[in-house]
Amino acid sequence: MQYVMFVVVDPEGEPYVAADDDYAQWDADLEQRGVMLDKRRLRPADEATTVRVRGGELVVTDGPFTESKEWIAGFAVLDCADLDEAIAIARTHAMARFGRIELRPLAQANGEPLA
């Protein structure tokens, strides 16, 4: 199963403690295990641009598509045996504490999940 792991900044998370942010260690572990297919960090949501076409008219707006205190700061693509393995990986990411993580199964062209 392949999952996209969204790393979400969430003001309701526990207060940030720099000393507990062991992202580099987490990253190195996953690279070594070969379960991380891809990973990217995103620029902050206030630099987002939303694009819509309505009645043939282009509407471009400043900001993300939804007004929310939470925003996606980055993502990784994981290749796991099952959801439990993906949860085990997500729970050890520092942002599971300071923010939150969302796991989404990747779909194939026909909508079925990628095995």
Partner: protein, 456 residues
């Protein structure tokens, strides 16, 4: 839901509610297999017994082999329907469980062969293999135990919404039908069907594994399983005007809880929860009068309590304390239930011990419902004055605003203090908030008794 569930344990002063017929949990008829009147009693009993013994085994092994939850349920359901159709004519087979298992497996194989789903078709070989050893599970039982544990843990996976976990457990582990589950939780049948379909789709598509969690996850996952069982039990223990369904839910929870203690004999929490459910369930017959109206714990005829269930509950409680002398939440609640179940009369109840246990629970759990129960227990141990001020304190926190058991508890303590006017006002507030049904009628009777002094 959680609030009502916890409220069912407010054993101290608040009304204690139940349904009229008591049965020992294991003897209860599984309602999914309830036959119609044309079926002879012996056949009906044989189908019921086979349903109770075999349903979860059959579904669990079919899911393992086919990976298709709906197919497994449908094949099992069809097999029981065939038994109801054929046993009255052909007689009950010598080994009813093996008969139904074989019919269900053959039915599953037929469905696989007819299916257009390629992934499912690939399961045909595995299914044939399974059919070649139909009696394996009746020999050692070990693999099948693993199957059923897999099923329970998967139904209760934390990635499923709590409502879905409860519904799925009742459908696949306990074998209730979708309309029965819908009725029990007061939602339209279509809503419940949709909830089950979504849950099964998520298991499949999100990659929720069909397995017993590994050792390092077992404790946190077991907690989730026990919470689901306790929710199911409490949904059946809270008195409504549909007594038969209430009771069926509670007995199913006890049955699955009992299965869990067999499968995980070293789990103190599993024994503790089973003890709690049995000790509460034992009082079921005493909780209502001949008209089905609620009787408070103090006024119950204790000879109507189920002595066998109390004995089983106390045994389970002993087992839990042998494994873990420091009680967790379920053990503590079970110990409170045991104090009630073993007291010769309301006056002889060890309220000091109950109050201490509730105080311990409140210290470990910030839930306002637990705080309310602790306050009520304190009143029963130390007197109505102390109880009233403790309940007032919980009320002042505002966390339980709109919850009828708060004014109900205040009314009860005010009544005991002889402050009839103030009690009447609190009863009015409780009546306005209480759900329609036995609990509200109970409060109305109490309110009326304040005005006209009871004849004694």
């Amino acid at each position: 839901m959680t609030r009502d569930a916890d409220a069912a344990n407010s054993d101290a002063a608040t009304p204690d509610a139940a349904t009229p017929d008591a049965a020992t949990p294991d003897a209860a008829t599984p309602i999914a297999a309830t036959p119609d009147a044309a079926i002879p009693g012996t056949v009906a009993a044989a189908v019921s017994a086979a349903h109770a013994a075999e349903w979860s085994r059959i579904v669990a092994s079919l899911i393992r082999v086919t990976r298709d939850w709906s197919l497994a349920e449908d094949a099992a359901q069809d097999a029981f329907a065939k038994a109801l159709e054929r046993w009255p004519v052909e007689g009950v087979p010598r080994n009813p469980g093996a008969w139904i298992t074989t019919v269900a497996r053959n039915g599953a194989l037929d469905r696989i062969r007819r299916s257009a789903n390629e992934a499912l078709k690939m399961r045909e070989v595995a299914m044939m293999d399974e059919l070649d050893r139909p009696d394996r599970e009746h020999d050692s039982g070990h693999d099948i135990d693993d199957d059923r544990l897999r099923l329970i843990f998967t139904c209760c996976h934390p990635a499923l919404a709590i409502e879905a976990r409860v519904a799925l457990t009742l459908r696949t582990v306990a074998g209730l039908t979708t309309p029965e589950i819908a009725r029990a939780f007061l939602v339209p049948e279509a809503t419940m069907a949709q909830r089950l379909v979504r849950a099964k789709r998520k298991i499949q598509n999100a990659g929720i594994p069909y397995r017993v969690p590994p050792a390092e996850l077992l404790d946190e996952r077991l907690g989730g399983v026990l919470a689901v069982l306790y929710l199911v039990f409490n949904a059946g223990y809270t008195l409504t005007d549909d007594a038969a369904h209430d009771e069926a839910l509670s007995t199913e929870a006890i049955r699955v809880g009992s299965l869990l203690t067999e499968l995980l004999p070293r789990s103190a929490s599993a024994h503790g929860l089973l003890a709690l459910m049995l000790l509460q369930h034992a009082r079921r017959a005493g909780r209502t009068d001949a008209d089905g109206e609620l009787v408070s714990l103090e006024d119950q005829d204790r000879s109507r309590w189920d002595a066998l269930a109390i004995r089983r509950g106390l045994n389970a409680l002993d087992a839990s304390y042998r494994l873990e002398p420091e009680p967790d939440r379920y053990q503590a609640l079970a110990t409170i239930a045991a104090c009630h179940a073993t007291a010769a009369s309301a006056d002889a109840t060890d309220y000091r011990r109950i109050a201490a246990l509730y105080a311990g629970l409140a210290a470990a759990d910030a839930s306002p419902v637990v705080a309310l129960n602790a306050a009520i227990a304190r009143g029963m141990a130390e007197g109505a004055e102390a109880g009233l001020s403790a309940v007032d304190e919980v009320s002042a926190s505002g966390a339980l605003d709109g919850y009828y058991l708060v004014p109900a508890a205040q009314a009860d303590f005010l009544r005991r203090l002889g402050r009839a006017d103030a009690a009447g006002q609190r009863y009015d507030a409780a009546i306005a908030l209480a759900p329609a049904g036995p609990e509200r009628r109970y409060l109305e009777r109490r309110r009326a008794a304040l005005i006209a002094p009871p004849v004694e």
